[in-house]
């Protein structure tokens, strides 16, 4: 009985809110459909981005260009078919001005067609396969691309006397992206590479790491989705690869700030290239981290959060530029070429590719004041996605 009453109350509240909402803001609301995996194995992505989006609106108010941004959050559970349906419903039923979120590559791709057909901007806040922005002229990305983060790693490795690298990547889009972009660059610079790909649902890294250790490389390049990074790191150490002098390198996913603490000391010494570290030394970042932690019970923001934060900002800036015009083409045009100072440093939405251009930092995982951080020690400024850059030439 009690449950039922609650349900009724909830339903009543919702419909009331909806009625009021549509009455009060019918003219001056810009709805943003935020589709994220809030449940399932990629829920942490959803939580980070959702929190960052809320933080941005709380800090900056919700009115831009005369329009009040209204967020409609939907959970796609990491399931591409659901993403597609939700995107379609948001466009058709809720008449959203912008679609945003998209935790994984297939999810972003699933919505691409909807964005094109409906002429609605799709702001990708997480998915990182290079090709995504080519799937629709309405896609704008505020996260990063894996080649963007992986190629600088090859440069760094070549400069630091690493001749032979063994790559271990998860066998799906982003992993393959990371592997090929790194390997191509590294080989072009005279290094040798051996590779294995690990199945996405892999319970045990032992056989792959065994191969790696027998290859006796100078460094192990690794990309795994952030959740299983910890397991990988531990087995890396268990197998004694660290003691054998093998460096652990790769894009920053494996030492995700969100879980770095629970990975523990085994992560110390890992060299990674990425676009954001919670330890990034700037005033903007310090303010961001402090506010984020305060609003989320001490949870550290990670690279997902910063992309969500900047994504909202890109939407807001675009609205300002168009003076509240929510036409999709106008919004995308306004987003192109946007240049902002983000907590991660300067960022630019490439007017040609609608992809993000940003600094890539070389970091080393270290312990500071009893906490683990990825400490930046070198900068490669304003890196474009190398895959699309190569295509243009």
């Amino acid at each position: 009985m009690a449950i039922r009453r609650q349900v009724l109350k909830g339903a009543l509240g919702l419909s009331l809110a909806a009625a009021l909402g549509s009455a009060a803001f019918a003219q001056d609301a810009a709805k943003v459909g935020l589709i994220l995996p809030m449940t399932g194995p990629f829920a942490s992505t959803g939580k980070q981005i959702d929190a960052a989006v809320k933080l941005f609106l709380a800090q900056n108010g919700a009115v831009f260009g005369g329009k009040k941004i209204e967020i409609i959050l939907k959970d796609d559970t990491g399931n591409a078919d659901t993403t597609r349906r939700l995107a379609q419903e948001l466009v058709v039923n809720d008449k959203v001005a912008v679609l945003a979120g998209f935790g994984l590559t297939p999810l972003a791709l699933a919505a691409a067609q909807v964005a094109t057909q409906a002429k609605v901007p799709e702001v990708v806040m997480a998915a990182a396969t290079a090709t995504i922005t080519e799937a629709s002229p309405y896609i704008v990305r505020t996260s990063f691309t894996l080649p963007q983060a992986s190629e600088p790693m090859a440069d760094w490795a070549l400069k630091n006397n690493i001749k032979k690298v063994f790559t271990v990547v998860t066998d799906y889009g982003p992993g393959i992206d990371a592997e090929t972009s790194f390997a191509n660059k590294f080989k072009a610079g005279g290094g040798t590479v051996e590779s294995v790909r690990v199945p996405l649902r892999n319970p045990d890294f032992a056989p792959f790491l065994q191969r790696a250790s027998e290859a006796k490389p100078d460094a192990l390049f690794v990309f795994v989705p952030s959740g299983i990074g910890a397991q990988f790191m531990k087995q890396f150490v268990e197998r004694g690869l660290d003691k054998a002098g093998v460096k652990l390198i790769g894009p920053g996913d494996v030492v995700d700030d969100d879980i770095l603490e629970s990975i523990g000391d085994v992560a110390i010494g890992a060299i990674t290239t990425h676009h954001y570290s919670v330890a990034h030394d700037s005033a903007a970042n310090k303010a961001f981290v402090t506010a984020f932690k305060a609003a989320n019970g001490g949870m550290r923001p990670n690279f997902m959060a910063v992309a969500g934060y900047d994504g909202m900002r890109v939407i807001a800036e675009a609205l300002k530029k168009t003076n509240g015009n929510t036409d999709g083409d106008a919004l995308v045009a306004a987003m192109k070429g946007l240049s902002l100072e983000s907590p991660r440093g300067p960022i630019l939405i490439d007017p040609d590719t609608r992809d993000i251009v940003q600094n890539i930092y070389v970091r080393k995982t270290e312990k500071k004041d009893g906490e683990l951080f990825n400490v930046e020690f070198a900068i490669i400024p304003m890196v474009k996605d190398p895959v699309k850059a190569a295509k243009k030439q």
Binding site: M38, D81, V91, V92, P106, Q113, Q117, Y172, G173, L200
Partner: protein, 333 residues
């Protein structure tokens, strides 16, 4: 022509006569198109799920085969239709037929694994097959797009006339039409001598064999047909979403469809469809209140349902359905 012969004929005829409730059911399904224009996408998903559950009903409800891997054929059909469209043949009906042939053929090939062995072996083999397919689809990225899904599917207008739109109008009517046609075929089949022999095998395999019914042959055939039906559902999924992802081969697809059929009740063809409506409605409602944990409520629902709720719910359904003479004495629990 004796009086008794007339009565026999009448009884046999009665078992396949259309009941008013059936007609009402389909009218409602069609009428929903105008009644709920905001929910056409969801309704399209329901129609596809209903077809998938209907396909499971053919083997579970009518032939008694327990499968944990029915998604294998859904996935094959989806990829078959998707790949065909990607390679320039975007006619939806062509894709549908192609998907049914591919899935049906796969069903035929794997049927020897199914017809022999006990329930446990069947569970294992069906689960194993779908897992292998999932791995293949994942690894063979050059063909399937791997974990990124199959991109770039363009579907031509249905019959060259009705283009797929964002609102899901064409999608729903197309899926509903396919569901209806395939339902008609299934209904006819299940009232044929072949359908009767399947029921015989399900009821009592020992007696079926002792009555001259070859169980392996019939089960293999039923399995093939069901696979083709699942392939059709997969094709609809691929065509109406113009996208195929690895998810079509995921375990939860097989589990969900089983749940759908159990909710509606197996063995009378409408179970899958009623179940699909209830399931999607539940999913949507629960997801609206506790988006994070609807899986928990579905699980709880399942447990309670199997423990005691079934007789309760089916009691209601049966009360309604006992009017259908051809349903008499069907409910297997």
């Amino acid at each position: 022509m004796s009086h008794l012969q007339d009565r026999v004929r009448a009884s046999l005829q009665a078992s396949r006569r259309w009941h008013i409730a059936e007609i009402v059911f389909w009218l409602i399904a069609l009428g929903s198109f105008w009644a709920f224009p905001r929910h056409l996408l969801l309704m399209n998903e329901i129609a596809i799920l209903a077809l998938f559950a209907l396909s499971l009903d053919l083997i579970l409800g009518f032939a008694g085969i327990v499968s944990l891997g029915h998604a294998a054929f859904l996935g094959l059909g989806a990829y078959a239709a998707g790949l065909l469209a990607k390679n320039g043949m975007g006619d939806p009906v062509l894709g549908l037929v192609f998907a049914m042939v591919v899935s049906g053929f796969a069903g035929l090939l794997s049927s020897p694994l199914i017809v022999k062995g006990n329930d446990l072996t069947r569970l294992m083999v069906t689960l194993g097959v779908v897992l292998i397919l999932h791995e293949i689809a994942n690894s063979w990225a050059s063909l399937t797009g791997g974990a990124d899904g199959l991109q770039g599917i363009t579907i031509n207008p249905v019959l060259g006339l009705f283009a797929f739109d964002l609102f899901g109008k064409t999608a729903y009517l197309y899926s509903l039409s396919v569901l209806f046609v395939l339902f008609l075929v299934a209904r006819r089949m299940m009232n044929s001598p072949f359908g009767l022999s399947l029921r015989a095998i399900r009821d009592n395999q020992l007696r079926a064999a002792a009555s001259g019914v070859p169980p392996s042959q019939r089960l293999a055939l039923a399995y093939t047909i069901a696979a083709a039906y699942a392939g059709a559902a997969g094709a609809l999924l691929a065509q109406t979403s113009q996208f195929v992802s690895l998810d079509v081969l995921d375990f939860h697809r097989s589990a969900d469809v089983m749940l759908v059929l159990i909710i509606g009740g197996p063995g009378y063809l409408y179970g899958g469809m009623i179940g699909a409506v209830v399931f999607k409605f539940l999913q949507d409602t629960i997801a609206a209140f506790t988006p994070q944990y609807w899986m928990f409520w579905i699980g709880l629902f399942l447990v309670l349902f199997v423990l005691r709720g079934r007789s309760l719910i089916h009691g209601g359904v049966k009360l309604f359905m006992t009017r259908l003479p051809w349903l008499s004495g069907r409910g297997r629990s």
